[in-house]
């Protein structure tokens, strides 16, 4: 069998590689996205006082610390007896929501302007040295400024709600430790252009139009790139609305039939299991009722718009209706439609931020709820790149005795592998050499999922990824190092 390896994947965080095995006829026989790091964090938090967890978990990853901060805090809400979801005070819940939608907004903006738009506007085959926001700055400077300022706006929302940029302490077990001052609120509502929420909504709409315009002209490519049937999982609000902060667990199959019907995520472990495969340190989650082979699922923007029934903000709902109509209301399985879904969520996040900023509950001093102590709690949140689970058990001395984390990128392990397989089959069959176009196609497929491998594997730093091609004797045919 021949084999191709790709490492490192550019613009993907963490350590990983792609291997592609070819048979004697140069047909793609097997593809694998390898993640080669350890999972040491769960053991590290054991023995620590539970109230430290929302800050400690930010050590996992400097890329999505807010998601870990909030998921941990939600799990500890249960432990301090504040329950889940509506157990918090209005100020406590809404401040956290504002933090979360700020995080989603800046994360999605980064993905679109730094990652997706260069591929769309400059071409998938353009010079890789310029196929990033620098290239956008040269050809479309206004767009580059939008990307920078949307990131900046979201970061400032996070700083105002989490208390600081690094190791924020805003969310605490049972609530939040600060409210939003009138000055902070007005800065986001009425700040000088462009740093105000109305401009952010306007730019979110224009980014969506930009994608739709590209899609119109490149339907065949966008619609057929890395397409494969999948189950989809996310939390949704109890009434079926898109809700990135809180809800019940729902999964649908490839045809849209519910296969996990709005269950309480406190019992996620009854419904979700994780498979270990010898060639990857990243586990493969699956729905227990369906089994390892067919129970895998996709999470993230594509999945969320496949599981939810509607979006509870008007502009995003309009965009959602158009998006759903494109697949006749059926689940969307196209990896590159992830960008479309992500931009609809960006718009929704901006609308949510505006609604929250206008809510006077954010100025309340009633910030924390306490109740009867529990010894186990689960927190689930829709992080920008997908569903994130935090599960803790504590003892009588308030020490953490067990921690289990299933991060978004781990949830998307199998879909990313499937996406790579689809692209490899289409582009590498019959080949002995890896071209720049092939390499980038594999990367585009992986990047659509916005993976954070350092988060998934709890590694430190960044590690790019190579492509190596092996023949049937396991000899290297070609290697591409980014």
């Amino acid at each position: 069998m021949n084999k191709i390896t790709i490492e490192p994947v550019t613009r993907v965080e963490g350590h990983g590689k792609v291997t592609i095995h070819m048979d004697d006829n140069l047909n793609v026989a097997q593809t694998r996205l390898h993640i080669v790091e350890f999972r040491g964090f769960e053991r590290f938090v054991q023995g620590r006082p539970y109230w430290e967890a929302p800050v400690l978990v930010q050590r996992l990853c400097g890329i999505c610390p807010v998601s870990h901060h909030l998921a941990a805090a939600k799990a500890l809400d249960v432990i301090v007896g504040a329950g889940t979801g509506n157990g918090l005070t209005p100020a406590g819940e809404k401040m956290r929501r504002l933090m979360h939608y700020g995080q989603t907004f800046q994360s999605h903006a980064l993905h679109f302007f730094h990652l997706a738009s260069p591929d769309l506007l400059l071409g998938y085959d353009s010079d890789p040295a310029l196929r990033n926001v620098i290239g956008i700055a040269l050809k479309h400077p206004d767009l580059a400024v939008q990307g920078v300022m949307m990131r900046k706006f979201g970061q400032e929302i996070i700083a105002a709600t989490a208390g600081k940029k690094i190791h924020g302490t805003g969310a605490i077990p049972g609530g939040i430790n600060k409210n939003l001052s009138i000055e902070e609120r007005d800065r986001f509502l009425k700040g000088a252009d462009p740093l105000n929420i109305d401009k952010m909504i306007e730019w979110s709409l224009s980014a969506l139009e930009l994608f739709k315009g590209y899609h119109k002209q490149n339907k065949a490519f966008i619609d057929n790139f890395a397409v494969f049937p999948s189950n989809h999982l996310s939390i949704v609000r109890k009434d079926g609305a898109l809700d990135l902060y809180h809800g019940v667990l729902r999964a649908v199959d490839k045809d849209g039939k519910k296969i996990l019907n709005d269950v309480d995520y406190q019992e996620y472990y009854k419904h979700i299991n994780e498979e270990v495969r010898s060639w990857s340190y990243m586990k493969f989650p699956f729905l227990t009722s369906i089994g390892k082979k067919d129970g895998w699922y996709t999470v993230g923007p594509l999945a969320r718009l496949n599981t939810c029934d509607f979006i509870p903000t008007p502009l995003a709902q309009n965009a959602f209706e158009e998006y759903k109509a494109y697949t006749n209301g059926k689940p969307n399985h196209s990896s590159l439609h992830m960008h479309w879904a992500r931009l609809i969520e960006t718009l929704h996040a901006a609308e949510m931020i505006k609604i929250l900023l206008n809510d006077t509950d954010l100025q309340s001093d009633n910030l924390v709820t306490k109740g009867k102590k529990q010894f186990e709690g689960v927190g689930v949140i829709e992080a920008p790149r997908g569903t994130l689970f935090h599960h803790y058990k504590i003892n009588e001395d308030d020490q953490i005795t067990m921690a289990n984390l299933i991060v978004s990128t781990t949830n998307n392990n199998e879909p990313m592998n499937r996406a790579v397989n689809d692209v490899a089959n289409k582009m590498m069959t019959g080949k002995k050499e890896i071209t720049e176009g092939m390499k980038n196609a594999v990367e585009v497929a992986i990047r659509a999922y916005d993976p954070c491998l350092s988060c998934a594997t709890h590694s430190i730093g960044t590690m790019p990824l190579d492509i190596t091609m092996y023949n049937s004797n396991n000899e290297v045919l070609d290697n591409y190092h980014s």
Binding site: G40, A129, V148, M149, I166, I460
Partner: protein
């Protein structure tokens, strides 16, 4: 003249915090000495919005921990032309930030990177003993550099 000292790293990963710790120390020094025109900032890593941040400064010193084989500290000038394709979509290099700043704001502040050698990268907040020694050297070095920049600016005026 505006000088920005910008440290980055994850303070929960032991010596990865060196850039942040340096920035915190410099901030205290600026306040205690009542030095004007010098600002500090820090984050987990650099990203595209930092192009806007550095566009407001004339001189920028990025401070970061490194595992590279250097002697305690390394102070290098950042050239925006050295900006390379980034392996990570979630963090960018000082040269990338400077290049982006130049392209979208038409500004190119005098920019340096202070690398501070680190040794241990566990899930801890405490620096390793060798890193503490390097941090002290870095603080002294940075104060000296800031003083030189301020003096140079006075002479230029």
């Amino acid at each position: 003249m505006k000088i920005l000292i910008y440290g980055y790293g994850n303070p929960g990963r032991q010596d990865d915090a060196l850039g942040i710790r340096l920035t915190e120390n410099i901030e205290k020094w600026i306040i205690s000495e009542n030095i004007s025109g010098v600002e500090t900032d820090c984050n987990y890593q650099l990203n595209i919005e930092d192009a806007a941040r550095i566009s407001e400064s004339d001189i920028v010193i990025f401070a970061d921990a490194t595992i590279e084989d250097i002697d305690d500290l390394a102070f290098t000038t950042i050239n925006p032309d050295d900006s390379k394709i980034e392996f990570s979509m979630h963090a960018v290099s000082p040269a990338f930030v400077l290049d982006l700043c130049r392209k979208i704001y038409n500004k190119c502040p005098e920019t340096y990177l202070l690398h501070i050698k680190g040794y241990e990268w566990d899930f801890k907040e405490e620096l390793s003993s060798n890193a503490i020694i390097n941090l002290e050297k870095a603080i002294k070095f940075t104060k000296q550099k800031i003083s030189e920049f301020i003096k140079r600016n006075r002479i230029a005026k």
